[in-house]
Amino acid sequence: MKSKVISLTKVILKNSFQNMETAKSINENKNRKSKSMIILYIFVFLYLAGIIGVFSNGLIKELMEINQEQMFLGIILLGIAGFVLIQSIFSAINILYYSKDNEYILPLPIKPSQIVAAKTNVLLITEYFIVAIIGLIPLTIYGILTSASILYYISMLIVLITFPIIPVLISSLLVLIVMSFAKFTKNRNRFQLIATIFILVVVCVLSFTVSDTQTTPEQLVQMVTKANGLVEMLRGAFPTLGMAIDSLTNISFENQILNIVLLVITTAIIYFIYIMIGQKLYLKGAVGNLASGKKTKKKLNETKAFKKSSLGKTYVGKEFKTLLRNPIFFMQCVLPAILFPILIIGLTFAGIKGEQGGSITDIASMITNKTSIYVGIGILCAIQFFLMFIYISATAISRDGQNAVFMKYIPVTLMKQIDYKVMPNIVMTTFMSILTIIMVEYLFKLPVIYLLVITVAGIAMGVLQSYISIIVDLKKPKLEWNSEYAVVKQNMNLIWPVIFGMLNITLLIILTVIVGRFINSYIFIAIIAVVYLLLTMIVRNYIKNNIVKLFTNIY
């Protein structure tokens, strides 16, 4: 039983890494390319680690000055739990239901419980990468700054391994439950798409209500005196949070050991229960996914069916249809544009609200200079951050797979087609920018003109990156795939939007620090917007002048 689970886990993991390998085209020098990719990954990792390290260092020192450094433990663990919970919802849906290895694994003589265990393990292993960044680094810094004993580091490792398990199980179970209803529906594919959206909406709503729990003023005062309000509030609802904090806090040796043991045992029990329930639910939902669309004969609406429309309209329409009708493309390319701003901005402020007991208007009043350059650049950086997760354009060619050659034999200029293909990305980034701005406006109440300038800059930034991303895809398209998952997840090209994004954020911050003080913030942001638009024109011109060359890899 056990060895089967382990080998299955290995197979699924290997499969997804091999898929990454084949992302490279055949006639390239493999070794050199993959080496430079690894260096790139290390660079990105170090960059993120650096940011988190500096942030942790500052925060811990601040807290130490008021003798409240243990608060940091709660904040980090809560952060891990929240991040893993949300992140693993996405991965759970993909790995459990939309993964292509289902085709090979499901017909094999393996027990459902073993499949569920193996897939959950894969889920966990991928989450540990994130935990290493957002958990290991801050907690190590905490250990160093508080000159903790060796016991702290041991329990830190145990906590980091065990603590993320339950959040993963919770989101995975949520996915399993909802998807198991697929058994009762006629069109499983459509159901799973709707269910996916439903789950994500539930997650959003839950995260708001949890952090928004009503408390009486007296309780609130008590909590604030306890100094970590939100953590305390959640201790009851989420028992392992308390255990994890206590096993890292130096109250007494016995207490620390006791909490470690409790944490491990609780996690093990919940894992066991999860597998018991999971195996019953899994097959009901998963098997259905293999049966692709049924043959249905639906009558044509004769008056509407044969309508002529402009080329641009149908072309962009076709792009949107293929995006929206494909569950994996929809989840990976469209949903993040909507969810990330809501979740991250919402949670951040709900969190601040919970901890300080203040209301949003208090936060708004905390910002004294609402037209400050830092507010504007901060919003732009947030938009840029969300932009990194919208890769409609970065996969625009690859998503077509073998159909990509279609672009080359129809009598429409390639440049026009590029403009059409970039359009969905522009629409979604614009939508995301406006959504972000609306949320910011709701929270901060900035002057309208300033907001408008920022919006224009944000949208220009999105347009620029839509064009840059499609160059990446044109140069190294991934056209040979048999699962959509390979295009949007196991695709090396997607590192580039992240690199551009981080570069852009860094440049924005450096620029602000250097010249920000000397320029009116309206003009500064407006100049940035103009620069983005000029760059867009340059990039688009580059594509136009090199269009035939850019398309040579598509055949």
Binding site: N27, S292, G293, K294, K295, T296, K297, K298, K299, L300, A305, F306, K307, K308, S309, S310, L311, K313, T314, Y315, K318, K321, T322, R325, N326, Q402, N403, V405, F406, K408, Y409, I410, P411, V412, T413, V548, T552, I554, Y555
Partner: protein
């Protein structure tokens, strides 16, 4: 008739392939100095065993691949220098029929009709005519994903014929079609050739070529080894041992 054609300033040649070479990998020519003329109003069969270079040639004719050397003219327009004009002059059926699976059949056809700028009245008539002929009219309102291999092939064929192109270029069109559809397709190819239209298709099946083609060309390892009528080809095979071996390599019948 002749004066009409001459007045167009070209000598009955619909597709002209001039000294075309192509290599995917350095120093290995997949197409080696190919010269070929397809005349107005003929069905031309492009024969060759698997890996001979048929698809590569067709990809160059349709503008999917750029030739390393040489040029290709379609109805007098160069596919590399005037690509848009050249592309308006053919309808293309690629070897894999898995086109835009998430679109409904009707959406795919309308999309193509918009690309080829078909007016409203004509498009309804044309789509109905073609899809009813191939018996996929009733499925038009479902996603192509739900179609069988043959049905997908048929939708793509309908799409290529929507604007009644002067050239009809097909890569291995018979694979995956049932006997009746295969027969229908051949009939349509014949019909399309009237009005001085041209059909150019590749196949690795001799029998298809024998019944259908006015002329055939045989390609092997990237080189054109024969052009002429099917009868001429048979005679030549009798004289030439190496050609006969090649003949055997090209499948006699389907499966």
């Amino acid at each position: 008739m002749e004066s009409y054609l001459e007045s167009k300033g070209r000598d009955f040649v619909m597709i002209k392939i001039e000294n075309v070479s192509k290599s995917y990998v350095k120093d290995k020519k997949s197409i080696d100095d190919l010269n070929l003329e397809i005349r107005d109003g003929e069905i031309f069969g492009f024969l060759g065993p698997n890996g001979a270079g048929k698809t590569t040639t067709i990809k160059m004719i349709t503008g999917i691949l750029n030739p390393d050397e040489g040029d290709i003219l379609i109805d007098g327009k160069s596919i590399t220098k005037e690509p848009i004009e050249a592309k308006r002059k053919f309808g293309f059926v690629p070897d894999s029929p898995d086109m835009f699976l998430k679109l409904k059949g009707i959406e795919y056809l309308n999309f193509l009709a918009d690309i080829y700028e078909l007016p409203n009245e004509k498009r309804k008539e044309r789509i109905e005519e073609l899809t009813k002929k191939f018996e996929i009219y009733d499925n038009l309102n479902s996603e192509i994903q739900s179609y069988s291999h043959g049905m997908r092939q048929k939708v793509v064929i309908c799409g290529a014929l929507l604007n009644n192109p002067k050239n009809w270029i097909l890569d291995e069109p018979m694979t995956g079609l049932d006997p009746k559809s295969s027969h229908d397709l051949k009939e349509m190819m014949r019909k399309h050739c009237n009005n001085q239209n041209t059909v150019f298709f590749s196949t690795h099946v001799l029998e298809v070529a024998e019944k259908l083609c006015d002329r055939v060309g045989i390609i092997n390892k990237g080189k054109l080894v024969f052009v002429g009528t099917f009868e001429e080809m048979k005679n030549k095979f009798k004289e030439n041992k190496s050609l006969e071996d090649l003949f055997l390599e090209i499948t006699e019948n389907e499966e």
